[in-house]
């Protein structure tokens, strides 16, 4: 594992909003074909970091690299084309389009025609167990299904790196396990790299090979799940009031 080059490099990223420091000099790597997690209490800056990586806003300082390319401050659509697919913590379905059309939009930029995109979209719906919902309007989906739709759309863009922002929230334990299995299978089959923000520890511990812990916008720890759960700094600020 140590010989594998990092696919994503976050280097000294800082970001503040109106003087409030949301991210302070955060650095970490995600190795190619790895599954990494970003954890931390609410307000730790996890989603802000995702938004910086995905280009929603540029960092005040620091760099984001995908493979060889410096993607710092690029537009979101360019970053998507560069190979990063992301989901939104607060889901953003295209409410008036059907589930199938939602995913087709995502599949279009890798496809020549709408028919091809639709074809590949069906595959992703099946993968996320949404195929029975294909003709429904996204507005009518339940929250867990909307979370799955987020994942299906992000996957349909054909990313090298998948950013998942709390996609297991609201899923039942058995559904979480199925999602974990799906993601792991994807990584094994397609060589996808995954970075996830997650509060569902069941999923974090089952999936991730590497964990970065944020607290008040700073990285306070990182390592394998085994080392993280024993790190006193993590236990004190984050896991102290959590059931693992």
């Amino acid at each position: 594992m140590s010989a594998v080059a990092p696919l994503l490099r976050v280097e000294g990223v800082s970001k503040s909003f109106r003087g409030l420091l949301a991210l302070n000099d955060v650095s970490f790597d995600v190795v190619e074909r790895g599954i990494a997690a970003l954890i931390g209490p609410n307000g730790a800056g996890k989603t802000t970091l995702f938004n910086v990586i995905a280009g929603v806003f540029p960092p005040d300082s620091g760099h984001v690299r995908l493979g060889e390319a410096d993607i710092t401050g690029e537009r979101p659509d360019r970053i998507c084309h560069a190979g990063i697919g992301r989901t939104f913590q607060i889901v953003k379905p295209f409410a008036q389009m059907t589930v199938l059309e939602n995913v087709t939009v995502a599949a279009l930029h890798g496809a020549g025609t709408v028919a091809e995109a639709t074809q590949s979209a069906r595959g992703f719906l099946e993968m996320l167990e949404l195929d029975t919902r294909a003709a429904q309007h996204a507005a009518n989906l339940t929250l867990p299904d909307r979370k799955r739709l987020e994942v299906a759309r992000a996957l349909a863009t054909g990313p090298r790196l998948l950013l998942l922002d709390e996609v297991m929230a609201g899923l039942r334990p058995s559904e979480t396990d199925r999602m974990v299995a799906t993601l792991r299978r994807l990584r094994d089959d397609t060589g996808l790299t995954i970075l996830l923000i997650e509060h569902v520890m069941r999923a974090v511990m089952a999936l991730s090979e590497h964990i970065t812990v944020l607290h008040h916008g700073e990285k306070i720890s990182e390592g394998t799940p085994e080392t993280i759960v024993r790190d006193p700094a993590v236990l004190e600020c984050y896991l102290g009031d959590q059931d693992l």
Binding site: P76, D77, F88, E101, N102, A135, A156, T157
Partner: protein, 348 residues
């Protein structure tokens, strides 16, 4: 028939038969309707074309324009001027007319989207430009200024068929605008099912998500404005040669822009048949109201001296309020379900 069905999508057999019968009725209109009904029908198709263009922006891409008269007016003045000044037939003049309308659309779009002016503020920008161009033309003497710009029509013109110069009998105008409106419908159907349509709807529903999925939001919004203003420009050329007189106060009046929105709002914003369906309800209704008032005046139920000019607008306004209250998605989706024009699970 299968090709038609594939194109117009999930129409039920009842929808196909009803639609077909209605179309046949309209095709044969010159044989059963008088000149008055044909005038009304011509207006209906003209407004359907403008409405289709407006609906493309708001209904498909989520961009609210309340200045659509601007694009219509630019198309009208361009083709009319080129015809009167250098004798360029409108069949050719339609190209520069589209070109200028599109340029104006792109200018407004760029200003709006580049500086992230969204929603209502973008709508205000479209109104502002329409007003601005109206005031400019008010002062341009070679466009007739406030006195109006006129195209010559001879009595002989009223009978032949000269499509290149848009001179001919009322039937010619009727069939032409019918073809244009139906052409716009077909074009919109095609666009909606293309990459453009998918991206527009995604941008309409959530621009942030669309961007994250690789959609260049600025570019696809610009495409929407360009195609919409181009369609409105074509409608403008027809308007110029059908009316033969252009006044800035009338052409660029905000009433024209609002008129362009009403059919779609009544029929259903974002639906394909909504704009044309809505105008088929509103325009005849407006005519009926006008006729009814005239009759009441004739029978002295109402004092003939009473001024009731605003009544039609008042009634339209009332209808729009009812629609917004009770059928906010428009009448077309409701009619589709009620008359089973489409198969279940599908939309017009």
């Amino acid at each position: 028939m299968t090709a038609v069905r594939r194109f117009f999508g999930p129409l039920s057999p009842a929808g196909l038969w009803l639609g077909g019968a209605f179309l046949l009725l309209l095709l044969l209109l010159p044989w059963w309707g008088g000149s008055y009904i044909m005038t009304v029908a011509t207006t209906v198709f003209y407004l359907a074309l403008v409405g289709q263009s407006w609906n493309l922006m708001l209904g498909f891409a989520g961009l609210l324009s309340i200045g659509h008269a601007l694009f219509v007016g630019i198309g009208a003045y361009t083709a009319a001027y080129l015809f009167a000044a250098v004798g360029l037939p409108p069949a050719v003049g339609v190209l520069p007319a589209i070109g200028l309308a599109v340029l104006m659309g792109l200018l407004i779009g760029y200003l709006g989207f580049r500086f992230a002016i969204g929603g209502v503020y973008f709508a205000l920008l479209t109104i502002a430009f329409a007003e601005f161009v109206r005031v400019v033309i008010d002062h341009v003497s070679w466009l007739g200024a406030t006195e109006g710009f006129f195209l010559k029509v001879s009595e002989a013109d009223r009978h032949g068929i000269d499509l290149a110069n848009l001179r001919g009998a009322p039937e010619m105008y009727y069939y032409l605008i019918m073809a244009l409106a139906l052409g716009a419908l077909v074009l919109c159907r095609y666009l909606l099912r293309s990459r453009l349509g998918y991206y527009w709807q995604a941008i309409r529903d959530d621009a942030g998500a669309a961007e994250a999925l690789g959609v260049n939001v600025l570019r696809y919004k610009m495409y929407a404005v360009a195609i919409s203003s181009g369609m409105a420009g074509v409608a403008g050329v027809f308007y110029a040669f059908y009316q033969n007189s252009l006044f800035p106060e009338i052409v660029f009046n905000i009433e024209r822009s609002i008129e362009a929105t009403l059919g779609s709002i009544v029929g259903g914003v974002g639906t394909l048949f909504g704009p044309i369906f809505g105008t088929f309800i509103l325009t005849p209704l407006g005519e009926i109201v006008t006729e009814a008032i005239d009759l009441l005046k004739h029978w002295h139920v109402i004092d003939p001296e009473t001024k009731l000019d605003g009544l039609k607008l008042l009634i339209w306004g009332f209808i729009v309020v009812l629609i917004v209250l009770f059928k906010p998605k428009g009448l077309w989706p409701w009619v589709c379900v009620r008359l089973r024009l489409t198969r279940p699970e599908a939309e017009g």
